[in-house]
């Protein structure tokens, strides 16, 4: 909403410095986005009267003028203009002044100088150089200097006056961001009410009236509202003997400052009233209302209408849309836009004004469907007041008479199905204070409400809500009104005494721990989008069964159209991006979500938090990467088991599934070369995904200190030979199962080649044994090792 400050001042004398106005009105709830002076950069241009004009001695094209600019002595100006004559009043840019260069879209600074020896103290200018156009000065020729002698306001002009002020361009336009709940503030009167309350200034608005000519509209027009649900009130008035012409300057300037271009007096009146009252109006040329009938009805299948929107194709109407029709055809899409055919033309002689209330939701849906979100529809969609509909209509008729652009038929048609029972609320000042935590005296609260237009009954403390205020329903709404006018920032800040206690869940602690471990392992934390392209599943060769995803109805694009069921594509993509950025290596992690759909689409999916790790680079291999996972399990006390597994996403020989007591918690491996290829890279990429909730459940969160060993340990190294197919995991399991007092079993070497038969490998383990009750003797240790070797031998694993 752009507000003309001059217009506002018609109703509230808010003549403080603009900065103070903007700050004050913002802090009472009507947020100002920005403001600008209508004069733009034009500066130091005054009205000058040419007292004398004579030819320049050294030029055929230049004239030397003596110009009265309201000072003691005239100034001399040299001009090449051909339309300047003695006694002409013209705009004069003084030394140091600024005008507009429209052609080059820039400004020009004027300086005093000499033209062929003759001093010139300024420059005459055209309306273009003032930033205006022909429609502002219809009497002036587009070429040459603007001659103001024919101006309608000429008798008010005198030499030395600011020319922009004289022609009404001294306004300030203030742009407001009006919140959804206050459609009443999408109007000059609404903002005037706010300004009046904010700055404690009188609000001078009277109900509009008109005189009218003796004639009954009912004998010339009928109105039928077929759908009273979507149209609660429809008022129509008629104007005869219309004289279409330009609007007066004050109206043009107010419209301009509001961001609306003047068209002609009748159209301007509808726009003017919409801006002033916040209630959109429409005007039909009565000639084109077939059968002199207005029918408010739903559109019929197949109906079309060419709108007043220049050059666009006619829009297709559908039955859920409300239209204003005549006996034959739709004339307007209710609340959105009128049809071109029945609009106002230069030869229009009889006009029907419409002022109505349409259902907000219906207007918004229709506006979107026909692709026209207009000034009108944006107001209707918030729901408009039926009483204001009448005031707006009367204001339009009043303006018609004021501008003398037609004769108003005395009676109006009013198809009214609206509820106009005044809305009442009870004010309890003590409650308001306890609600806000403030101490605002009762009288001050009452004054605030009255200034906002509420009618206060001091006997019952009942307030009557102004009908335009659709947002007032509950005591807390009254609290807000008082708070914002009193000043949010004047209410004392207090710290609540909370009776609740902060709790941290086991999973939250676990997740924090995971994060610390990941950072300690050199991983950079990432953040990827949770929706991905369905093609990603193909790229990572995910089994069909895991591809079923939550799918967006209207995604921004295919790339972000399904909610991921695995984090692998997200991690792979970011690694590939880093590879392509020529970053030589990297370790990454993310604690993110996957979304696993349930049976029906209406059911919410299961959302699981996943720890995804990814790495690549010359120093990374399966075992360095596995080391990251081992760090997690060691720190969190998870007794994880790595088993070789086959997973199409991963390298067939380099992928492990991780289980704890048979329960699956995640997968880890090197991506299958085809998958990397699908992403356009050759590098080896390592990815792991772990289910956080499962890990958290299996983690040892109940850590207890174990006594430090009191007795020495015995270490034995075993170099074993076995078939290639036997895994280290199996050997360690066998050792653990058959050994005694084992403290640690670890692999320290793997060897294949000379000295070891083909198809076999040599694995060396270090075994640490320790008793907690006494020193273990060598003989005892030998006995234990003997047992271990026996168990190993049963599996064909022998000492080397």
């Amino acid at each position: 909403m752009n507000l003309s400050m001059k217009w506002l001042n018609d109703y509230v004398k808010a003549d403080m410095p603009i900065k103070d106005f903007v700050a004050g009105i913002t802090m009472s709830g009507s947020k100002v986005e920005t403001y600008h002076e209508m004069r733009g950069e034009v500066d130091k241009v005054v009205i000058g009267k040419v007292l004398d004009i004579k030819k320049h001695e050294d030029s055929d094209k230049l004239w030397i003028c003596q110009v009265d600019i309201g000072q003691d002595a005239p100034i001399q100006i040299v001009t090449a203009a051909t339309n300047v004559v003695k006694d002409a009043c013209v705009p004069v840019v003084l030394d140091g002044g600024t005008v507009i260069d429209k052609e080059h879209n820039t400004t020009v600074k004027i300086k005093k100088g000499k033209l062929r020896g003759a001093e010139s103290c300024g420059m005459f200018c055209s309306f273009n150089e003032l930033g205006m156009d022909n429609s502002d000065f219809p009497y002036s020729s587009p070429d040459g200097v603007l001659i103001l002698n024919d101006d309608p306001d000429f008798d008010k002009m005198k030499p030395g006056d600011d020319v922009l002020k004289a022609v009404g361009l001294d306004d300030i336009s203030v742009e407001f961001e009006i919140t959804n709940n206050r459609p009443d503030c999408l109007s000059v009167l609404g903002l005037a009410r706010e300004a009046s309350a904010t700055f404690d200034l009188p609000y001078n608005v009277t109900e509009p009236t008109f005189t009218g000519i003796d004639c009954d509209i009912n004998s010339e027009l009928s109105v039928t509202v077929e759908n009273t649900k979507l149209c609660s009130r429809y008022m129509a008035a008629k104007v005869k003997n219309v004289k279409i012409g330009p609007s007066p300057r004050w109206m043009v300037e107010r419209l301009r400052a509001s961001g609306v271009r003047a068209i002609n007096n009748l159209v301007d009146i509808t726009n003017f009233v919409m801006l002033e009252y916040g209630h959109p109006m429409h005007a039909f040329d009565a000639r084109y209302v077939a059968g002199n009938k207005i029918i408010v009805r739903n559109a019929k299948e197949g109906e079309v209408l060419k709108l007043l929107d220049e050059a666009k194709e006619p829009v297709k109407l559908s039955p859920e849309m409300l239209v204003i029709a005549d006996a034959e055809k739709p004339m307007a899409v209710a609340g959105v836009m009128g049809g071109e055919y029945s609009g106002i033309w230069d030869d229009t002689t009889e006009v029907i004004f419409e002022s109505a209330c349409f259902d907000g939701v219906s207007v918004r849906r229709t506006a979107r469907k026909v692709g026209e979100r207009t000034e009108a529809s944006s107001r209707f969609e918030k729901g408009l007041d039926p009483i204001n509909a009448k005031n707006a209509l009367y204001r339009a008729l009043q303006l018609v008479e004021m501008l003398g652009c037609g004769e108003v038929v005395k009676t109006v048609i009013d198809e009214d199905h609206s509820n106009k029972t005044p809305h009442k609320l009870v004010h309890d000042y003590k409650w308001v204070n306890s609600f806000l935590g403030a101490e605002i005296p009762e009288e001050e609260q009452i004054t605030i409400l009255e200034k906002l237009g509420f009618v206060y009954d001091r006997a019952t403390h009942e307030i009557t809500v102004p009908s335009v205020r659709i947002d007032m329903n509950l005591p807390c709404d009254i609290g807000e009104e008082i708070a914002r006018i009193y000043g949010y920032n004047k209410i004392e800040s207090t710290i609540p005494k909370l009776s609740s206690r902060s709790r941290v869940t086991k999973e939250q602690k676990f997740t924090d721990k995971l994060t610390d471990i990941m950072v300690s392992q050199g991983c950079l934390e990432t953040m990827t989008f949770s929706f991905i392209s369905p093609k990603s599943y193909e790229k990572i060769r995910l089994p069909e069964i895991r591809r079923k995803s939550v799918t967006l109805l209207r995604p921004l694009g295919e790339d972000t159209s399904v909610m991921r069921t695995t984090m692998t594509p997200s991690m792979t993509e970011l690694i590939v991006r880093n590879i392509n950025n020529r970053t030589p290596e990297g370790r990454f992690f993310e604690i993110g979500r996957v979304y696993l759909p349930k049976g029906s689409a209406e059911e919410l999916p299961e959302e699981r938090d996943i720890l995804c790790i990814g790495a690549y680079g010359p120093d990374e291999d399966f075992f360095t990467f596995k080391g990251i996972a081992e760090a997690i399990f060691e720190v969190t006390g998870i007794n994880a088991k790595f088993e070789k597994t086959v997973n199409d996403t991963f390298h067939t020989g380099r992928c492990a599934k991780i289980t704890v007591g048979g329960r699956y918690i995640g997968v880890l491996g090197e991506l299958h070369p085809t998958v990397s290829e699908n992403y356009g890279v050759k590098e080896r990429i390592y990815i792991a995904e772990f289910d956080i909730a499962s890990m958290c459940e299996l983690a040892d969160s109940d850590v207890k200190y174990k006594q430090l060993p009191k007795f020495p340990a015995i270490t034995r190294d075993l170099s074993l030979v076995c078939d290639d197919s036997i895994t280290s995991g199996e050997i360690i399991e066998t050792i653990i199962a058959s050994g005694k007092h084992l403290e640690q079993v670890s692999l320290f070497d793997m060897y294949k080649g000379a000295g070891v038969p083909e198809g076999k490998k040599s694995l060396s383990y270090s075994i640490i044994m320790r008793r907690s009750d006494k020193t273990m003797e060598n003989e005892e240790a030998d006995k234990y090792v003997e047992k271990i070797l026996k168990a190993l031998a049963e599996k064909n694993i022998t000492l080397r």
Binding site: M27, G29, K31, T179, N180, V361, R364, R368, S434, F435, G437, D471, C476, D477, G479, E480, Y488, I491, E492, S493, T494, I495, P496, L498, S499, S500, S502, Q508, T515, M518, S520, Q521, C523, L524, E525, T526, M527, T528, F529, S530, V550, T551, L552, L553, R554, P555, L556, M563, L574, N578, N581, T583, G586, F588, R593, Y595, A601, E602, L604, E607
Partner: protein, 340 residues
């Protein structure tokens, strides 16, 4: 005779010690002189030949010689050790300006660094961090939050729908509703998380972004409490000098509602490019919980009241780290991530 021998030993040994430059020969000398089979011991064995008068005198002398030799040897040993240490350190000297051997540690994502700060501040004030689903039912995101059918926020242009009744949450307020339905007051929670809106990716927009919303429901909670809480929060995050400005606004689920501006932490309110020369930076939305929302969740608004607020994490992170393009937060470029 013995006296002369003793004197001689002392002189010879002292001379040998003086020129010695390794510990090994020094130790040999110690054994040779002072050992059980050493020269001094051998001389002392001749003590029996001496008269009773001479014995104590020579005895005393022999002890002096022994003490003197021991001192000389010890001093020399210490000097040699010091010299050796010196030599070793010299040999081991490094160029301290050469790079260290780093075992790289990772980094947190800037958004999570900010979130951790927020969690710490609010946990310190007694709040519990709660989580909830991102794919949500319309009733938790809109209906129960007083955002009726027909509200613009519900339009498909502002919300990603999955079906007519399920969607990607546009705010984490849905978690507040779920909490109020599940738990009785008093409630003090923050609900950080991902939210979704159909904005195409550009320097200042992303279809996925992060919020941290807060909710307090208790007896006698006032608008003043909301102000005090947010002031406390802002001062914890930005220091004691920060000022807050509460500006009336409208949200369907709070009444009164306020947008909160912070005095610009770059210029302190004097005006600079960061605050667009306004001195204030819009930071969060807040308000007193609308009674209808409480009723929707089975909480009696005559008994309980509360406030809610919502903070955008991206905004805080971008301003804290001078990040001028939101896309950087989601591109996961290692060169970016490793800076935090």
């Amino acid at each position: 005779m013995i006296r002369e021998q003793l004197q001689k030993i002392r002189e010879q040994a002292a001379a040998q010690i003086a020129v010695m430059n390794d510990t090994k020969s020094l130790e040999e000398l110690r054994v040779r002189m002072l050992g059980k089979k050493g020269e001094l011991t051998a001389i002392l064995k001749q003590m029996g030949q001496l008269s009773a008068e001479e014995r104590p005198v020579i005895g005393q002398l022999a002890n002096d010689v022994r003490a003197s030799l021991e001192a000389d040897i010890n001093n020399k040993a210490a000097a040699l050790k010091a010299a050796m240490t010196e030599q070793r350190l010299k040999a081991e000297a490094v160029d301290v300006t050469m790079p260290g051997k780093v075992r790289r540690v990772g980094t947190r994502h800037p958004l999570n660094i900010v979130l951790d700060d927020l969690k710490a501040i609010f946990r310190g004030m007694g709040y519990t961090v709660v989580d909830g689903p991102e794919v949500e039912e319309t009733k938790y995101v809109f209906d129960m939050l007083n955002t009726d059918e027909g509200h613009p926020a519900r339009e498909p242009s502002d919300t990603f729908y999955i079906t007519e009744n399920t969607l990607l949450r546009t705010q984490t307020s849905s978690v507040q509703i779920r909490t109020m339905l599940k738990e009785k007051p008093p409630i003090a929670i923050i609900s950080p998380g991902r939210v979704y809106r159909p904005d195409a990716v550009d320097g200042t927009h992303s279809p996925i972004f992060h919020q941290c919303e807060g909710l307090v429901i208790d007896k006698n909670i006032t608008f003043g409490d909301l102000k005090g809480t947010l002031e406390n929060f802002a001062k914890s995050l930005y220091g004691n000098d920060v000022k807050l400005r509460f500006r009336p606004h409208h949200f369907p689920y709070t009444e009164p509602s306020a947008e909160v501006d912070l005095s610009c932490f770059k210029c302190g309110g004097k005006g600079c490019p960061l605050c667009k020369y306004e001195g204030w930076i819009e930071m969060l939305g807040s308000g007193v919980v609308h009674p209808q929302v409480l009723i929707n969740c089975g909480i009696d608004p005559n008994e309980y009241s509360g406030f809610a607020f919502g903070i955008g994490l991206e905004r805080i992170a971008m301003m804290r780290y001078n990040i001028d393009d939101m896309r950087l937060l989601y591109e996961n470029d290692a060169r970016f991530l490793s800076q935090f």
